[in-house]
């Protein structure tokens, strides 16, 4: 369980913005095994919040606790997938996954790591592309490898920062299905990974999340549960009607929020 206690953050080195906090006094909890989406307009601090959870930034005030212990630096029980893939460009797909396995499973033999890497690449549908380097792959393929890499790290918390934001519609749908399938593969909901998924796409949030935290600039606007059955088929039947209803109310709520772009001072850093 992840607990945020009055967490505030500002990019202190950014002089123009010293006056203003990127995030102020956030408090909420993320249950173990929950699929949480953080949605909201761009520039409202979604990515900053995720980086705080990952320990890549430190909160200026307040505390983040994971199972009771405070986050003070990147933790050994989290993996992260970035929007821009962040694969190591000098390694091919297989080496990228294998390298992560060997670093996160100390003592594993090279052949075991290779076999494991094969398995994870197969899970994301990249079994044939193991010897390709990132520069030879499309965005969708790279993100599949990045997901395989994050899964291979075998961490109980998975953070995703707009992972499908740069992909075309077809790839995005495929990867959404893939992510849900992989996450649901563990039948016992209590044993599933905790997933925190940042997106600006309401449709995507409703498609994937157990719960959506809708952010407004500087803080949380609302926390909305999504009580749809899994695996989700969204377009038809009564579930489809329910889906559209949730999406509509969320979109309306989003339109009411202040647009951060209109404000005098927008904090830098990754949006």
């Amino acid at each position: 369980m992840i607990t945020l206690n009055n967490v505030s953050f500002s990019y202190a080195d950014n002089e123009q913005c010293a006056c203003e906090q990127t995030l102020s006094s956030l408090s909420f909890q993320i249950e173990s095994g929950e699929f949480l989406c953080i949605a909201g307009p761009s520039g409202c601090g979604k990515t900053t919040l995720l980086r705080l959870l990952a320990g890549l930034h430190m909160p200026t005030e307040g505390k983040i606790l994971v199972d009771g212990s405070p986050v003070c630096g990147p933790r050994e029980d989290m993996a992260i997938v970035f929007q821009d893939y962040a694969l190591f460009p000098w390694m091919n797909a297989h080496k990228n996954v294998q390298f992560c396995i060997r670093q996160t499973h100390p003592g594993i033999s090279a052949s075991d790591a290779a076999a494991m890497a094969d398995r994870y690449l197969e899970q994301v549908g990249m079994a044939d592309a193991g010897n390709k380097h990132p520069y030879q792959m499309s965005g969708g393929m790279r993100q599949r490898v990045a997901i395989a890499r994050a899964l291979a790290m075998d961490r109980k918390i998975l953070l995703l920062d707009e992972p499908f934001g740069a992909l075309d519609a077809r790839n995005r749908t495929d990867l959404q299905n893939l992510l849900e399938t992989l996450w649901c593969a563990e039948n016992n909901p209590a044993k599933r990974r905790t997933i925190v998924f940042v997106t600006h796409d309401i449709q995507e949030a409703v498609r994937l999340a157990d719960r959506i935290i809708l952010m407004e600039p500087g803080g949380i606007a609302e926390s909305i549960p999504v009580p749809l059955k899994r695996p989700r088929t969204l377009e038809d039947g009564p579930a489809g009607e329910q889906f559209r209803q949730i999406r509509r109310s969320l979109t309306d709520r989003l339109m009411e929020l202040d647009r951060p772009a209109g404000r005098a001072c927008r904090c830098g850093g990754p949006a």
Binding site: A54, L56, P74, E76, M78, A79, I80, F82, D84, Y85, A86, L87, F88, P89, W90, M91, F99, C100, Q103, T104, H133, P134, Y135, M153
Partner: protein, 342 residues
């Protein structure tokens, strides 16, 4: 335009691209062999003719390889070239692969004709300072063993200096770039020391070091080390944040971070810098060799100038040009093989 016409166009232009340089070559050979010479003390033209033959062969090999590449590269390239030229828009696609080498050859033969005419045939240039091509190329025949020895001697120093300088720069740069405390210590010091040109202090180094060889190696090491050391630190400072973040999430130990992440990340930059570095080190080395060496290419030229033997000096200059070109080709080849991912 149908295929037949296309083919005839390309063979026509192909004929011309070889035709003009060869007319010039024939004129040059004719002047060398049959025109009476005014200049005294000319060596036999055999070495010069052999050199022309070698240049011609290199040109033909290069030309044929480019032509094959063009034919393999596909009809589409040629077709788009023709289309864009009818639009009146010059484009790089319109430039045939063979035009570059042809223009270069025309330039080379014209220079040679001018040189031969001004010196040997009409004796217009300064009789001592501007040697005749016959005499310059005769040097290669006369001195090939001395020259090879000097090249080997220079290369040994150059390689030793570069390997030591580069290895030190990259390893120390890795540590200083990654560990903040070391960086805070070493970076300001390096910024003060790096701009001191090693060439200027090389006479001092020559008297300071126990032997001349170690002094010239040190000059090369210094010339390579400082720029590579500083740029290694700078490159680590500007590493892509995504790569750094995903490495941080993996909890890598410092040695793994340095040698599995940062080092491979740096290699393309190091190799790109290597071409410039190598030209600089050849410069450094040759300069150091002017200082009082007893071997080496720089020494050879210096020695020839001391004895007013300008034919030997010019031959030495040509050799340095050829050697640096070959070294650059080797670096380019390594670059291609090692960093395809970049």
């Amino acid at each position: 335009m149908n295929k037949k016409q296309l083919a005839s166009v390309s063979s026509f232009s192909g004929f011309f691209s070889v035709f003009i340089p060869h007319v010039l070559l024939a004129v040059l050979a004719g002047i060398i062999l049959f025109v009476p010479k005014k200049k005294q003390l000319l060596h036999a033209p055999g070495a010069l003719l052999a050199a022309l033959l070698v240049i011609e062969l290199l040109f033909l090999i290069h030309f044929l390889m480019q032509k094959r590449k063009q034919n393999r590269g596909g009809r589409s390239g040629a077709q788009s070239g023709i289309l864009s030229s009818t639009d009146g828009i010059p484009s790089s696609a319109a430039l045939s692969y063979t035009e570059g080498p042809r223009d270069i050859m025309i330039f080379v033969w014209l220079i040679m004709i001018l040189w031969e005419t001004c010196t040997s045939v009409l004796d217009l240039a300064h009789p001592v300072l501007v040697p005749a091509p016959e005499n310059v190329f005769f040097t290669f025949y006369e001195h090939w063993n001395v020259m090879l020895l000097n090249i080997a001697y220079s290369m040994e120093l150059l390689l030793a200096g570069m390997i030591i300088g580069l290895t030190l720069a990259v390893i120390l740069g890795l540590f200083c770039g990654w560990i903040p405390r070391l960086k805070a210590f070493a970076y300001p010091i390096a910024n003060v020391l790096a701009p001191i040109p090693a060439v200027v202090i090389s006479p001092y180094l020559v008297s300071l070091m126990p032997s001349f060889r170690s002094a010239s190696a040190l000059v090369v090491v210094l010339g390579v080390f400082w720029p590579q050391f500083l740029s290694t630190i700078n490159r680590i400072g500007s590493i892509e944040p995504e790569i750094l973040d995903s490495a941080r999430m993996l909890h890598l130990r410092t040695p793994v971070m340095l040698f599995r992440i940062l080092l491979p990340y740096l290699i393309p930059g190091i190799l790109t810098g290597l071409k410039v570095t190598m030209t600089t080190s050849v410069l450094m080395l040759n300069f150091a060799e002017l200082m009082g060496a007893t071997h080496g290419m720089g020494y050879y030229i210096q020695n020839s100038i001391t004895y007013a033997n300008y034919a030997h000096a010019v031959a030495g200059i040509i050799v340095i040009g050829v050697v640096v070109t070959i070294l650059n080709r080797i670096v380019g080849f390594i670059q291609k093989k090692l960093i395809r991912w970049h």
